[in-house]
């Protein structure tokens, strides 16, 4: 300000005053030093910025490395090949081929029989128990499915690949070392030598682990999958979206286009901004009180999770939508009104379509935030062990981040890799959603 003022004075005083100033010697040592200092400051400033970026990148790389290096092995699973005899006496003693009879048959016994045949030396009861651990308890269900699909297998003897138990899977992946003392590993020397003999005969194979993407949760690491949690996340987010998007956009339109500017709307505005910063657990408590205790909706259901997360996402969507609506130039509105459009027509035909890319971006970011949320879901019972894949928004379900939390807390060693793998899947979803936000913005964005 003072510079400006003195400049004005100089001008007013005329050229005499200007001439009174000493001419600057641009080549003097003082100036040279000053220039050098300013360049140095600029270089320093750039270096700080670069260092900050590098630090952030290093942190990101470390995170990525630790997750991927721990989790990549969860996408493959060890399988054991055994010669299974589909004994008609066990599966279908009366030869009726009735699916109900086949469904109830003891397929576990077939696998145990096959294992005993492969290792005839194992006779004592405790030895046999150790032997049966090689094959997962889930393998019997696979066999059942196979026979249900193809009843002509009954009576035949086939080489079948069966899913291995989690400890043997860990051994095959190198997480259990045969060099540690026998007493201090999960598998004893006999079990390791049996496994070795299977490996030597080519009966051990690692395959892509499709179950991880198709199963619900399980206490057996080799059977546990994320599909249940993914479906739960889908229902939860669907409820959140159908609720928070229309309400959020309507609120933003009203506040931006129709609401009078007075004390009341100001208070509303401040409160919306505050709500966006409220810790999410508070919304969980609200959800517990409102939806479970007052409305008596079922506990652990995605519908309640969605309703709760909608409360949390609303402020984000309102703020983003208001900013997008504000960015539409007033000339558009004036032109529409000038040509005889009603205010509602102006908004719905012109302002809203133009603001849509911004609104959608905000909505997707709000949704991505909701996808990663666990704290409010704890209060409404979605942090739970749920095996069945939810069939609707009313069934008990859990969500992806909760699944990660539950696996991280499980004692079985094999869940460590599952945890990292589930994190990778969650991150992939988040990147996908943010990518969609960028795409929508790029595609529909308009410049005026």
């Amino acid at each position: 300000m003072t510079d400006m003022a003195s400049l004005m004075e100089d001008r007013a005083a005329g050229s005499d005053a200007a001439n009174m100033r000493k001419p600057v010697d641009w080549d003097s040592a003082d100036i040279a030093r000053n220039v050098k200092k300013r360049y140095a400051a600029e270089r320093r400033f750039k270096a700080y910025g670069l260092a900050a970026i590098l630090l952030a990148l290093a942190a990101l790389l470390m995170l990525g490395y630790s997750i991927v290096s721990k989790g990549y092995s969860a996408f493959v699973q060890t399988y054991v090949q055994l010669e299974v005899t589909f004994d008609p006496a066990t599966i279908d003693p009366d030869g009726t081929r009735d699916p109900a009879v086949i469904g109830r048959a003891n397929f576990d016994a077939l696998i145990k029989e096959a294992l005993r045949k492969r290792f005839p030396d194992v006779t004592s009861r405790s030895e046999k128990r150790k032997l049966y651990d090689i094959v997962s308890s889930g393998a019997a269900y696979d066999l059942r499915e196979r026979v249900m699909e193809n009843p002509s297998l009954i009576g035949q003897t086939r080489k079948v690949w069966l899913i291995a138990g989690d400890d043997f899977d860990m051994l095959n992946k190198g997480y259990i070392s045969a060099d540690t003392k026998e007493s201090s590993r999960r598998l004893d020397d006999d079990q390791i030598s049996w496994f070795q003999s299977l490996t030597d005969s080519g009966a051990i194979e690692k395959r892509f682990h499709t179950r991880f993407f198709t199963n619900g949760d399980s206490r057996e690491p080799e059977l546990a999958g994320i599909w249940g949690a993914a479906v739960g996340s889908f229902y939860t987010l669907a409820v959140t979206l159908i609720l928070s998007f229309p309400i959020g956009v309507a609120a933003a339109i009203y506040l931006e286009e129709f609401a009078p500017k007075n004390r009341l709307t100001q208070i509303i505005e401040v409160n919306i901004n505050n709500l966006a910063a409220v810790p999410s657990i508070v919304f969980g408590l609200l959800g517990l009180e409102l939806y479970l205790n007052v409305m008596h909706l079922p506990r652990s259901a995605p519908v309640v999770g969605g309703l709760t997360l909608a409360l949390m996402t609303l402020p984000t969507i309102i703020i983003a939508a208001r900013a997008a609506i504000k960015a539409v130039p007033p000339s558009i509105r004036q032109a529409a009104l000038g040509l005889g459009a009603s205010p509602v027509q102006t908004v719905s035909h012109h302002v809203l379509p133009l603001a849509m890319p911004g609104i959608l971006t905000g909505t997707i970011i709000g949704m991505a935030q909701a996808l990663g949320e666990t704290a409010p879901l704890l209060m409404i019972g979605m942090v739970a062990f749920i095996v069945d894949i939810p069939g609707s928004a009313m069934d008990a379900a859990t969500v992806l981040p909760v699944q990660i939390y539950l696996w991280a807390d499980s004692p079985e060693r094999a869940f460590v890799e599952k945890t990292s793998a589930a994190i990778m899947v969650l991150l992939a979803f988040l990147i996908l959603m943010n990518g969609l936000a960028v795409f929508l913005r790029k595609k529909f964005e308009r410049k005026w």
């Binding site: 128990r129 269900y141 259990i176 070392s177 540690t180 003392k181 007493s183 201090s184 590993r185 999960r186 399980s218 206490r219 057996e220 409820v239 159908i242 609720l243 998007f245 229309p246 309400i247 956009v249 309507a250 479970l292 409305m295 008596h296 909706l297 079922p298 506990r299 652990s300 259901a301 519908v303 719905s348 809203l352 379509p353 849509m356 019972g381 942090v383 739970a384 062990f385 749920i386 095996v387 069945d388 928004a393 009313m394 008990a396 539950l406 991280a408 807390d409 499980s410 004692p411 079985e412 060693r413 460590v416």
Partner: protein, 347 residues
């Protein structure tokens, strides 16, 4: 833009959701409670879901206290049918239950769990007595001459007893909200403190202070609250051979190649030692059934039968594989009978 139509649809969807919610009868068992019992209960639930025509029960890990609070909130399908607990139900909780109409409760004891103090195999195994653990972890301890009570001055194991290693005292353990911490305080600290004459005297003189001294854990960095996640403690122990960690036996069982449990009172925490009671830090695990829900919610009796079958909780059952220490045969038989007849708990 069909915004208005969408909004109408959303309201309609919400209304229908609320209506179906009210009409929806529950056909799935709901279980809440202790995070220690969680791995065992989930294993039984999964087996139950696979081998019967009932839906797999939904199990929430809320902690013992939180579970009992939900359980005692009332009768009806909004409330859980079963709660797991890593301690016995308290008298006050039974009273709260009764006040809210939850009159008949069946108690099912499922077995034992050991609490271990373990460190990395890179360091030597510790041999501790309960008194030494108290001196290392309590906030207020007797002075060397045993005459007065002072703030815990010990920073090195060697200062407590010359036979202990020359290492900094650094113990990772669960926070006060955890059932494991409750049990550890009760079974180790509270038992050890009365062995010191000066604290035993306090019991008569000032009961409140006695309680505070016996249950108070130091806050100056010797005891580090490492969160409820036992796996996290295991990973930290691997990285830091000096530290000891406090957690449930099943985690030691799974990580026997990396960690060894300290001997307490001369006994190592092994499956056998906990089962026969010679390892001193073990507790009983329970679950509680709301009798009023049996018959209303399908499958509760069958779930009890599954849990109390030898295939599950027997000496060689699948729960033993997960680290549950079974009761002896006679006691199992007795509890099974009580569970079958839904004999209500009386205190």
């Amino acid at each position: 833009m069909g915004i208005y139509m969408k909004k109408t649809l959303a309201i309609a969807a919400l209304a229908s959701v609320a209506l179906t919610g009210a009409a929806h009868a529950r056909d799935q068992i709901r279980i809440v409670g202790s995070s220690t019992v969680f791995p065992f209960a989930t294993a039984v639930a999964e087996e139950f879901g696979k081998t019967t025509s009932f839906k797999t029960p939904v199990i929430e890990s809320t902690g013992s206290g939180g579970g009992l609070k939900l359980f005692c909130a009332g009768v009806g399908e909004q409330t859980p049918d079963i709660t797991n607990a890593s301690r016995r139900i308290k008298k006050s909780e039974v009273e709260t239950c009764a006040k809210n109409g939850v009159e008949a409760i069946t108690e099912v004891k499922i077995g034992y769990d050991g609490i271990v103090l373990a460190n990395s195999k890179a360091a030597p195994q510790f041999e501790l007595s309960k008194e030494q653990i108290f001196l290392a972890l309590a906030k207020i301890v007797p002075s060397k001459d045993g005459k007065e009570l002072i703030e815990n001055p010990y920073n090195n194991w060697k200062e407590i007893d010359p036979s202990l290693p020359d290492e900094k005292i650094e113990v990772l353990g669960p926070p006060p909200t955890s059932g494991t911490r409750d049990a550890f305080t009760e079974l180790v600290l509270e038992e050890a403190c009365d062995e010191f004459p000066v604290i035993a005297e306090l019991k008569k003189a000032d009961k409140d202070k006695h309680k505070a001294v016996c249950g108070g854990v130091r806050e100056d960095g010797g005891y580090i609250e490492a969160g409820e996640n036992d796996n996290l403690i295991v990973q930290k122990l691997e990285a830091n051979p000096v530290a000891l960690g406090i957690f449930g036996f099943s985690f030691l069982d799974q990580n026997g190649d990396k960690l060894h449990g300290s001997k307490i009172g001369g006994v190592s925490p092994t499956f056998e030692a906990i089962a026969d009671g010679s390892y001193p830090v073990s507790r009983s695990l329970y679950f509680y059934v709301k009798n009023a829900h049996v018959g209303t919610i399908p499958g509760i009796e069958e779930y009890l039968a599954q849990f109390t079958s030898d295939k599950a909780w027997g000496d060689e059952g699948y729960l033993a594989d997960r680290g549950l220490i079974p009761m002896d045969k006679a006691e199992r038989e007795q509890v099974r009978e009580a569970a079958k007849n839904l004999t209500p708990l009386s205190m």
